[in-house]
């Protein structure tokens, strides 16, 4: 009896402590009264993805190349991408439609992990409720696109890292391009006579669009 009662009394002391301290100690009452006050948002709060663009024009500066890697990686399959075409029907490396369904997205960040072009990032905005259950929760390209400045405001550290990475990549691509051009030029200088060699250069010219234009 004494043992049992001791355990019970100890437990009751703990709950009593929690009860009373919740009145004067902040850490004993961590609940945030939502509509009046909002919970603190840290740089790493993540809720829903958004698309990044560089420069001023959202569509032109879009980093996304519609490679659909994220579409395929998304576990609940809430990303929907259709590639863009120009007037002549030639495909452009840019999505015409890029929809994400908020009601389905589970904030797993896998789309961010797979994107090779640093084009998609997690946003911390959480008030995404809408009165229209169907269209309202399907967020389309126009609303998803946010500028790089927005990303910098959201998470400066990571944004800078991303920028550095892109710059490094661009520099690398530039160096490679130069090296290739040099090689082509050398090759051209070496064998001036066969003109067919010159035709090898187009791939080099086609390369630039792939890494985004650096800002």
């Amino acid at each position: 009896m004494s043992l049992l009662a001791k355990g019970i009394l100890k437990g009751m002391a703990v709950t009593a402590k929690n009860f009373f301290q919740s009145y004067y100690r902040k850490e004993r009452l961590p609940t945030v009264q939502y509509p009046e006050e909002k919970s603190t948002i840290t740089p790493f709060t993540r809720n829903f993805p958004f698309l990044l663009y560089d420069g001023d024009d959202a569509v032109d500066g879009m980093r996304c190349t519609a490679c659909t890697l994220c579409e395929r990686a998304c576990p609940p399959q809430c990303i929907y991408i259709i590639k863009d075409k120009d007037e002549k029907g030639k495909p452009i490396l840019r999505p015409r439609i890029f929809d994400i369904d908020t009601s389905v997205c589970m904030s797993c960040q896998l789309c961010v992990e797979v994107c090779p072009y640093e084009a998609i990032r997690m946003d911390s905005a959480f008030e995404l409720s809408n009165e229209n259950r169907f269209e309202g929760l399907l967020i389309n390209r126009g609303d998803l696109l946010k500028s790089n400045d927005y990303y910098h405001a959201l998470n400066p550290v990571e944004a800078r890292e991303t920028d550095d990475r892109i710059a490094a990549k661009n520099a690398l691509a530039e160096a490679k391009k130069k090296a290739r051009q040099k090689k082509t030029r050398l090759a051209a200088a070496k064998a001036k006579r066969p003109p067919s060699r010159l035709k090898k250069s187009p791939p080099a010219r086609e390369k630039p669009p792939q890494p985004e234009k650096s800002e």
Binding site: M1, L3, L4, I8, M12, V14, T15, N18, F19, R28
Partner: protein, 407 residues
């Protein structure tokens, strides 16, 4: 100031009745209504308030603020809940026993309200002042079991049936220590009359003496909890009452994590609300009889009467809530074993202890009886409890623990 509120309330009742003095038959009806209606309404109000109190208290224990949206401090939350319950659909399972499914909440509510009537709320505030009120109370409160059985059986649901079965087994088992711990009090008070039990819990030579200090303490120190057998009896009673009222940690019949909600599984809407209310009111009733038997009833210094009763009732209920916020649920075999192999023998021993105390008090006076009771009697109880818990331990528990998976 003593009994001020009670006298005023009785006066108010007389005053209202006086309006109907010319119509004898109507006067009887009014009298009956005055006896019952305020009681029922105030306990329903207390139920509403207690749901709020419980939610708030549990929330604070779990470091949450609890309901705080409806009204100031969320005080109107019970009303919002009531409206919600009222407008919800009442679902009756297709293959259920419709009549019993309908009757079960009523069968719980009626005994609960009758049981409340046996409580002496104050000086002259006693709806059913029967000569054997206490035994009547226990008789009526045993009807709860039938309602729970009705609900569990008629729902045609395995969870409900399991819950009903658990409830019946548990309530039968715990009724015995409950009544046995009350027997000690009845024995010493020498009466089954609730008012006399209350009256026996003041030191009568002090109360009328006029000395302020004696006046004050005479109404406190006479409570049965302050006597050795009363203290032990109160603990047994309280544990058994928790089980009788289906409250945590003995809430096995409605264990929501194991059997959904037991006998409540198939109840919805207003029937559920009635069921809920019935359970709370019977918990109130049993806490009230605990107050009457052990905590001195409405005795208390200064504002003796209703205020003290209400204060004690709510304090006891607060402890129940506190326990609910602390202790996890028992297992079924632990529950039954605790009643039969632990509480029951101790409660019987306690009756002997009470007799022993009474004998010494008669022979040599209160001081020696207190001394002997607290040292010898309580020591005997402690010894018995230790021996019983030793005896009840399974051989495995007694042997030294060997952990095979831990290096």
């Amino acid at each position: 100031m003593n009994n001020f509120f009670d006298l005023k309330l009785v006066e108010l009742g007389r005053w209202i009745e006086a309006f109907f003095a010319d119509f004898p038959s109507l006067k009887l009806v009014v009298h009956l209504l005055l006896c019952t209606l305020p009681l029922a309404l105030s306990f329903m109000g207390a139920f509403a308030f207690t749901t709020w109190l419980e939610r708030k208290g549990l929330a604070r224990i779990q470091n949450r603020p609890g309901p705080n949206r409806v009204g100031i401090f969320g005080l109107l939350q019970p009303i919002a809940d009531g409206i919600k319950m009222l407008i919800k659909e009442d679902i009756v399972p297709e293959r259920s026993d419709k009549l019993f499914h309908f009757l079960a909440p009523i069968m719980l509510m009626i005994p609960a309200l009758i049981g409340v009537g046996f409580l002496p709320l104050g000086d002259g505030l006693h709806a059913l002042p029967l000569d054997s009120a206490i035994i009547f109370f226990f008789a009526i409160s045993s009807l709860n079991t039938i309602a729970v059985f009705m609900a569990g059986w008629s729902s045609r649901n395995k969870y409900s049936l399991l819950g009903g079965m658990r409830a019946v087994a548990q309530m039968i088992s715990y009724e015995i220590p409950l009544v046995l711990s009350a027997v000690a009090v009845i024995m010493i008070a020498g009466s089954l009359n609730a008012q006399e039990v209350v009256a026996s819990q003041q030191i009568s030579s002090w109360v009328g003496s006029g000395n302020i200090l004696q006046e004050f303490f005479g109404r406190i120190l006479g409570w049965n909890v302050f006597k050795p057998w009363g203290f032990a009896g109160f603990i047994f009673f309280f544990v058994a009452a928790l089980a009788e009222a289906n409250r945590s940690p003995f809430d096995l019949p409605e264990a929501d994590s194991e059997i959904i909600a037991g006998h409540l599984t198939e109840y919805s809407g207003f029937k559920y609300a009635i069921f809920f209310m019935g359970e709370y009111i019977s918990a109130f009733a049993i806490a009230g009889i605990g107050v009457t038997l052990f905590l001195g009833g409405w005795n208390g210094p200064v504002f003796s009467g209703l205020p003290w009763f209400v204060l004690k009732l709510f304090s006891l209920f607060a402890v129940m809530i506190w326990i609910r916020g602390t202790l996890p649920r028992l297992r079924v075999d632990q529950l039954m074993g605790y009643a039969w192999k632990f509480l029951f023998p101790l409660a019987i021993l306690n009756i002997f202890l009470a007799g022993f105390y009474h004998f010494i008090e008669r022979q040599w006076g209160t001081a020696i009886a207190m001394l002997a009771g607290w040292i010898l009697g309580f020591g005997a109880l402690q010894l018995a409890a230790t021996a019983l818990s030793r005896l009840n331990q399974s051989p495995i528990m007694r042997s030294k623990r060997v952990y095979q998976l831990v290096e």
